[in-house]
């Protein structure tokens, strides 16, 4: 018996609709996140991630409805990230049916928020999004800083924080999992930033989800083999129908990585 490497499709949701569109053969409404979630569930995804990129405050409530409707049909773990800023935000998402919440900007501006959230809801449901970019030049702060800096607000705002130190700090505060995204690689299809992923997986003792840059199935293998990630996340290769979940799992399996290949629910 072996804990399996998780394969996690991610859906970007804005005002209750999937942003990039999802190409499934028999999906009637490609913009409906719940329909996409059900399709991923049926295809054997191990977990699902919703990233809410809704800008307006009014539009934010739509994600609760999306999560609630997903929970009625999908009996798999669901993580929701984007705009999670308060204990009340977390409570509402969990009550809607989310299993985990991913926190980014609020973790940077108030690290103690992670401690309060983990105390309240348990470490198992608190994921910290580590959004990192390679430094342009060696920043002041000495030789023991890593090559990466933490960014917030979808990669727009630099924070000056060292990515590996930040990751370790968040685990100390109570994060039960880290979602590590290379903002340099995100959307490029050129593969994970393996050095970044590895620097963090070698430092922390919680599971790490590798994210940002997947364009081929070999990239998924690299994330596990070289990055030592516990889970690999991808968006566009699945949305645009380049590869299916079963193809990705078969590829991981063919490369000696233990994955779950159960039949669908009765």
């Amino acid at each position: 018996m072996t804990l399996k490497t998780r394969l996690i499709p991610c859906l970007d949701v804005k005002d209750g609709r999937v942003v990039k569109g999802v190409q499934f053969v028999d999906l009637v409404d490609a913009g409906d996140p719940v329909a996409a979630a059900i399709a991923y569930d049926t295809a054997g995804a191990d977990e699902l991630c919703f990233l809410d990129i809704t800008a307006s405050h009014e539009g934010r409530d739509t994600i609760f409805d999306v999560v609630a409707r997903t929970a009625e049909h999908c009996f798999m773990p669901v993580t929701v990230g984007g705009g999670v800023r308060s204990i009340e935000d977390i409570r509402k998402l969990l009550l809607s049916g989310a299993d985990k919440v991913a926190i980014n900007s609020a973790a940077v501006s108030d690290p103690d928020f992670i401690a309060r959230a983990a105390d309240k809801f348990g470490n198992q449901c608190i994921v910290v999004s580590v959004d990192a970019k390679q430094r342009l030049s060696q920043a002041p702060g000495g030789d023991n800083r890593s090559e990466w800096e933490i960014f917030t607000h979808g990669g727009r705002n630099p924070t000056g924080l060292d990515a590996v130190e930040f990751a370790a700090h968040m685990v100390e505060r109570g994060a039960g999992e880290l979602l590590v995204t290379s903002m340099d690689r995100d959307g490029t299809k050129s593969g994970f930033d393996i050095k970044l992923i590895r620097a963090i997986t070698d430092t922390v003792n919680v599971p790490v989800v590798a994210s940002g840059g997947v364009g081929t199935l070999d990239h998924l293998v690299e994330g596990v083999r070289e990055g030592h990630a516990s889970a690999v996340l991808a968006a566009s290769i699945f949305h645009f129908g380049t590869f299916t979940i079963p193809q990705a799992k078969q590829h991981l399996h063919d490369h000696g990585i233990a994955v779950r290949m159960d039949r669908a629910a009765p």
Partner: protein
């Protein structure tokens, strides 16, 4: 109409648990009503009882005790009247004699044993044990009927850093491996508990829930 009570004592999200039970109940000739409740009187009348739970052992224990009369009703129905009972995750851990998470806290004591940290000999092993793992069924049990185990078996979804180490081998029903041996399911008589989340475990979990709804211990 018979009733299944899912106890709501402020520990986490019960929507997916309720939906999973409703889905499997609807497949029966006489579907039971699934009720999420914090009312001991409803639990007193229920034909089956489910105790979920996420978070820390001591918090869950305190939450359960804060519902006036709930623990007493549970004792009467489960221990005296032998109503089928299913504990999930920390709801299963609460069956132990005590929990040793942060501090030592007394449990319900229905399954003698202690809730202890996952012991790992491998420092590279990540904690929590989070994700999908297969089971080793140690003793055949009606709730695991139709669940293939071993390396090629179905997977269950786990997310935990502690597990229930049973005092007696008789109450260990299923195990899994993560570093060392990890308790996956415990039981005796009309009492059953899973460390994994049946409501998140797709085929395996839904099979177990159907088995529970038809269980006549």
């Amino acid at each position: 109409m018979s009733q299944v009570a899912i106890i709501d004592y402020g520990s986490g999200n019960l929507r997916s648990a309720a939906k999973a039970f409703e889905r499997q109940a609807a497949m029966l000739d006489h579907p039971p009503e699934i009720i999420v409740t914090a009312d001991p009187d409803i639990v007193r009348r229920a034909d089956r009882i489910v105790l979920p739970g996420v978070g820390a052992f001591a918090d869950c224990r305190a939450g359960l005790h804060n519902v006036t009369g709930m623990v007493e009703v549970l004792r009467t129905r489960v221990l005296d009247q032998a109503v089928p009972f299913l504990g999930i995750c920390v709801g299963m851990q609460l069956l132990a004699s005590e929990g040793r998470e942060k501090t030592v806290t007394a449990g319900l004591g229905w399954i003698p044993g202690a809730v202890v940290p996952l012991a790992s000999t491998d420092p590279a092993l990540k904690i929590p044990h989070m994700g999908w793992n297969t089971l080793q069924i140690v003793q055949p049990h009606p709730l695991l009927a139709g669940v293939p185990d071993g390396e090629t078996g179905l997977h269950a979804y786990f997310v935990h850093s502690y597990h229930l180490q049973t005092e007696s081998a008789d109450t260990l029903i299923a195990a899994t491996k993560y570093g060392g041996t990890v308790t996956a399911a415990v039981g005796r008589d009309n009492i059953f508990g899973t460390q994994f989340h049946p409501e998140k475990s797709q085929a395996l979990g839904l099979t177990l829930i159907s088995n529970f709804l038809g269980w006549a211990p």
